[in-house]
């Protein structure tokens, strides 16, 4: 018997419809120069999407569900609870999603040292953005422990303007909550903010609140899934080197 969270399923459906609508109607590129960046972590600053997929596969197998990492890979970038909707039944989701998420975080952290590497030049580009006076807020669906460990690896502790994580919002990507919270919490102007992500879920979340998105190919998503982004770069290092004119 379900006592809660039917509303969440309806919310999810409406967000998916919203995302599809947003994908069909991309925000038009303008001459605006951005003074703030809403930056994703996994697939942009650290090469971790494959490790996340393997950790999800591990976690699900510990609950007796066999799902290969290759099937999960295309869903990386969504918040954990949103991702699980595609792999477990609604009753499993209602009762076990939090536990599955906790096990995935544990498995990912166990793999972190062996499998996660920073993208060359990404952290340096972020430092240069900050030196140029651009606000950089990490807007990630990852768990706080994962963010903390990644920032230590990148040596970006204390460099960023702010951080929002999955724990700060009820609904992670592809919902817009993380980007909306980042804008509100750090007093940014959405008209002068650029979302930077590597997945179609980043693009959809940004477009839901009318923020343009620069998609990074470094996350390994096919270009066709990122075609609605206003800008496309190989990675954060190239965003700063080749896309410098986008910023104030």
């Amino acid at each position: 018997m379900r006592l809660a969270s039917n509303a969440r399923a309806a919310d999810f459906r409406s967000a998916v419809h919203g995302a599809i609508f947003a994908l069909r109607r991309p925000v038009r590129p303008s001459q605006t120069r951005f003074d703030a960046v809403l930056l994703d972590l996994d697939g942009c600053l650290v090469d971790s999407n494959d490790a996340h997929a393997r950790a999800w596969s591990d976690a699900l197998s510990r609950f007796g569900r066999r799902v290969p990492a290759s099937r999960i890979r295309g869903h990386i970038g969504k918040g954990g609870k949103e991702l699980l909707r595609d792999f477990v039944t609604p009753k499993e989701h209602a009762v076990l999603a939090s536990a599955m998420g906790a096990v995935q975080t544990e498995r990912f952290l166990a793999r972190f040292r062996r499998e996660v590497r920073p993208f060359p030049g990404a952290a340096a580009a972020v430092r240069r953005m900050r030196r140029a006076g651009i606000a950089v807020v990490l807007a990630s669906s990852a768990q706080p422990e994962v963010i903390q460990k990644s920032l230590a690896l990148l040596r970006l502790d204390g460099v960023l303007t702010g951080i929002t994580s999955a724990e700060d919002v009820e609904k992670a990507k592809p919902f817009d909550d993380i980007f909306s919270l980042a804008i509100e919490r750090y007093g940014l102007r959405s008209a002068r903010s650029l979302a930077v992500g590597d997945t179609p879920y980043d693009v959809a979340a940004a477009h839901q609140i009318g923020v343009p998105c620069a998609a990074m190919r470094s996350g390994g998503f096919p270009v066709r899934t990122l075609r609605c982004a206003e800008h496309l770069f190989e990675g954060v290092a190239e965003l700063w080197s080749r896309g410098r004119e986008l910023f104030a």
Binding site: M1, R2, L3, A4, S5, A59, R62, F63, G64, R65, R66, K91, E92, A94, V95, L96, S98, A99, A102, V103
Partner: protein, 124 residues
């Protein structure tokens, strides 16, 4: 209004019934629900896919009545309440209290992977 520090109910996810002939009850339940046997011993038979939804049929001891024995309620924020919880093989931290004579209510917050015996069995 929610009582301060009270756990947030998510769903009833398990029920236990006491029966003199657990095998017969399990056969009827399996036929009606189509659930596989998750584990079986002399004392109990558990039907279901995993810890998220199960029916446990326990053998009634001499002098015990047949009927409802346990209700299992999945909750969130169980740790916020001050009363002690214990880790259990279903992958949760739980607290059990007697609801009425012979019927226990278990509140469980799922936090970990379940023990091997509680994992979903592959069908077919």
């Amino acid at each position: 209004m929610k009582k301060k520090n009270a756990p947030v109910p998510v769903a009833f996810h398990g029920i236990a019934i006491r029966a003199v002939d657990p095998d017969a009850v399990a056969r009827r339940a399996a036929a009606m629900l189509g659930w596989p046997v998750l584990r079986r011993s002399r004392a109990e038979i558990i039907l279901g896919d995993g810890p998220e939804l199960f029916l446990r049929i326990v053998r009634a001891r001499r002098g015990e009545n047949e009927g409802l024995a346990e209700l299992h309620l999945a909750v969130e924020e169980l740790a916020k309440s001050r009363r002690k919880t214990v880790p259990d093989p279903l992958g949760g931290d739980s607290r059990t209290g007697e609801l009425m004579r012979g019927v226990a209510l278990t509140l469980r917050e799922f936090k970990r992977a379940p023990a091997g015996a509680w994992k979903k069995k592959r069908r077919g």
